[in-house]
Subunit: 335 residues, 4 copies
């Protein structure tokens, strides 16, 4: 007997990926909660596959037997729906940025709007299991991390904690994402002929994911330079992170710091010193792959961190969090 | 009556691009010099277009009336051919890395082989017209710059010269190139299914283009971190350059430094403060486009520099150099 | 002294391509006529290039010295604007489908709307110079052919005229186009993540370009099967055309029929028997490339016809027509 | 306790896909059999995942406990290895073309070489389960079908059997494949810059997959025109099939013929009349999706058949065959 998990926003890229993972999950199964613009998703098949659908109204939580609801929606919609589904008794995993920042002031600065459910900010567990596993296990509301911060924090925090970064020199995170990161919508900006055979930078130093990195990595804003860039591919995030070391260290030294931190983590894969991941290695997985190059003499280090933006960067991590919150094996449905 | 220009390596991407530019040039015309593996280039048309072909042997320079020869070849071949064509009286523009570094020791360190024509290193003019125009005008041997260094040096040198960079913090150049930068050859590494829907970093901190940046920008090796990365597109280089400012400056302040340096340069285009180029803007042109973002308070600046790797990064710049060396309008055939 | 040519719809892909061609044209120059939604096209450069702009109102035709106007607009807008600019004394080249079909009834059947300028249908010259050159030379209103019909008609008509096709067996045209053929607009259908790594067929047997093929090729509707398909690339159309021969013929026999028809045509290139073009050969050109494979014994023939949908399929052919109508060299600005 | 299945050629695209499917299979597990050029496949991880490797020599069949061996190799290698592994007692599923044609003469005509194991041709079961299920269940040697013939035969055979095709008019199959269909190898022909932004036809009327279509569909060679074409994507085959109907029929009539044929087939999905699949629908699945458009009045019909060339076109179908031969649930590991 599988637990039913509601998915709102199932026609978007993250929502659809969550449905795909849930369809293969040994203990969970998806229920498509129809919300506003959700078109009749799915193929025009003669024999329709059986997937349950229901209205997205919270009063159906009990009727549908929903243990949890995934919100693959915009921050505005999430701020509206999260309290309602929590009141209805469901665990809520929100994939938007609505509950990631710790104060309404910070939310307003970076998202340029008022927070309409500020009372939930303190309660929301930030769903990066490698650092917040216990809070997630006991949470009603889980704020699933942003895609860019996931790759950045998993790479930066162990080194910041180890105290090996010369922080006055600053840490640079040059981030690149496939186009699915922009969401599924009609937009000239993401039209095929604008994106294909192109490469472009956006939100330089001002991306709304920056404060999530600061919250988890421990870096100060003045120490952190971040650029988001659009790769003409479907999915994947690769971040090239540059830092200066306080003391001479080799790539192998740095890999061993990661190894100590992430010893048994099921979704972190470390590369041999001097080797780095490409996107192919992580696409359609829930892994975060990390590799290191360094020059000990000049104390320059470069970390490459790669995830699937729809996997560990969104739907995969959401299911990982859901597994924890429901007391299941953390890796169920994800390997 | 047009000058004849020999092109060796015309089946490669840079060589073919040089032929295309020369075919539209008002005062020059190409002669295809057949060398070793040059396959029967061109389309299997019923009516063949008339393009002159000749052997690549230097003794044909006079017979073919060649004013100059472009070497779109490997460093090994260029080291072999350049002296021979110079002796035959032709101006030589070499697109390989053979003559870019100033000493045979430096060549050996970065190219991992002995230089076989070290006597020409001192004579070779480094063909970055924005900084070496007079030397190029009077040169017999012009070493066409590497693609990555062209974009990097045009962006970094004005700021280094202006003394605004806090150099101890280091300068980061995160470079991305289309696949044509790897040359035209059978290789699993550049096979469609390996490159498409992927993104990968290579030669982190150790790329052979690094010393060219040091030579022109004036940075020290320990101050400069460089990563080359492969975008799944045909052509274009975009470099995202991070630096810390000595004093608070706005993006507009930095743009005005560039404007002073590049006032009338025909192939440098500056963007309004806070705006940056994408690759679409420069593909199939000889432009280098430069844009700036900065945060004055925290003294972080990000420069985006974009070129076509086959244009300003190779064949376009080679024709620009050739125009200078032949006393023609520098922009002929290039706008 | 160059003739000024107005371009309406210059932010679309076809209109922008027309502007690019006109900027390099030896005798013509573009004037951007601003119409409705035309965003501030162009790059955010510090030094703006000088391109004339003007309102799109017909009363400015004399004031701007416009010899002709290119309408790179929808059929609805073209039906509205064409009569107005003709009345103002300009030659009009319309890139939409508004004036391609010969009767308002046919227009209504295929375009699902009433024709609002039916009086111009008889006057409009169909701008396929290889077959309608004299009419174009003397026309005030030129209807630029559709992209798919251009490639199809140039391939089919010589063989239909020669009477070698077993017409009862039918002619199949399997057409593939890059995404720029769908125009520049915000649409989920043409979003990067929907088009990339995908391939899809649409408008099977019902595409509105079908009647243009019938008008020129001489085939009957029941004899012609047409499918349009979307390739995940920017530009280019390749059509694979299948037919059965009345008598045994080799590929060389068929190529020689084309050679007789197109002997001196500047923009038709024929391939050696058994060889066929790919899209690379025609991108960014005004050529239509044609190649033939055939099996004499079984009387099966396959023709491959390739054009750039923005070149010979739209803007290039529009300038070719304009050259004819203005009495210029037909190839000016196009080789 | 899982059955061990040897995979030879596991670094190629089909072989690697087979390993991926086997790793998720509930009753099977892969053993990588190292053969000649197999590089050290896999990522340079610090902690290596445990995948068994062994020499590819047949004498290890018993030692490794291999129930079956998949040959993801060239026809030459398969002709050499298949008899050896059969003699060693393993079931062999061959993904090459070595055992698909029924006579050595036919093999020689289409593959341009002598068959070196002709004695096995009569024994080999052609592994298209929808038509050869019982033979596969009892086979020692299964010849996995070609990718193009799989999509073609599943679409054509029901209509040919139903006797609705006007065969004298001929059947056209215009086939398009992603680049992984060409295999994993260094080749200029499949280099990124040659394939990307391009589209090309090859082997027109002469492709070696043609005789497989004739064997299964029942069409005569003179009735069948086939063109293979390369789409600039990684994976997927879409075939657009054109035919003339003997009698007027609607798309719905034709869909119902398919429904009768394929009623309960687990891997055939039929589309509603007038709707057709795109590649997205079938990528990374073992499905063959079929859709129909038709014009009853003119008796023209167009069938679109789509598969993943590495799924139902290679590794997926190989596992489907293996499931049958081992007496497992036919869909195990494939849904």
């Amino acid at each position: 007997m599988k637990h039913s998990i509601g998915v709102i926003g199932f026609t978007g890229y993250s929502g659809a990926e969550a449905v795909r993972i849930l369809e293969r999950h040994p203990q969970l199964e998806p229920v498509l909660l129809e919300h506003r613009v959700d078109a009749a998703a799915g193929l025009p098949l003669v024999r329709k596959p059986a997937v349950r659908r229901a209205p997205s109204a919270p009063e159906f939580v009990a009727a549908e037997g929903l243990k949890a609801v995934l919100l693959a929606t915009s921050p505005e919609v999430s701020m509206d729906l999260a309290p309602k589904f929590l009141n209805a008794g469901a665990i809520v995993v929100d994939l938007s940025g609505a509950f990631r920042l710790r104060t309404p002031e910070r939310f307003k600065r970076w998202y340029k709007e008022e927070h309409t459910a500020p009372g939930l900010l303190a309660e929301a567990a930030y769903g990066l299991p490698e650092y917040c596993r216990e809070r997630v296990r006991n949470a009603r509301l889980i704020s699933n991390p942003g895609c860019y911060p996931t790759a950045a924090n998993l790479a930066i925090r162990p080194l910041a904690n180890a105290g090996i970064i010369e922080r006055e020199a600053g840490v640079v995170c040059d981030a690149k994402s496939g186009a699915s990161g922009a969401g599924r919508k009609a937009s000239l900006h993401t039209a095929f002929c604008e994106v294909a055979e192109n490469f472009s930078a956006y939100s330089i130093l001002t991306h709304r994911h920056v404060p999530e990195v600061l919250q988890i990595s421990g870096l100060e804003e003045r120490e952190f330079s971040f650029t988001a860039q659009l790769i003409p591919i479907d999915r994947g995030i690769l971040e090239t992170i540059y830092l200066r070391l306080k003391e001479p260290m080799t790539a192998a030294d740095i890999v061993s710091i990661y190894a100590r931190q992430y010893g048994d983590e099921p979704f972190i894969r470390l590369y041999q010193a001097g080797r780095v991941p490409d996107l192919r290695a992580v696409q359609r997985t829930n892994f975060c792959d990390i590799g290191v190059a360094a020059d000990a003499e000049t104390r320059r280090a470069v970390i490459v961190s790669a995830i699937d933006n729809l996997g560990k960067g969104a739907a995969g991590q959401a299911i990982q969090n859901l597994n924890l919150a429901l007391g299941l094996d953390e890796t169920a449905g994800l390997l």
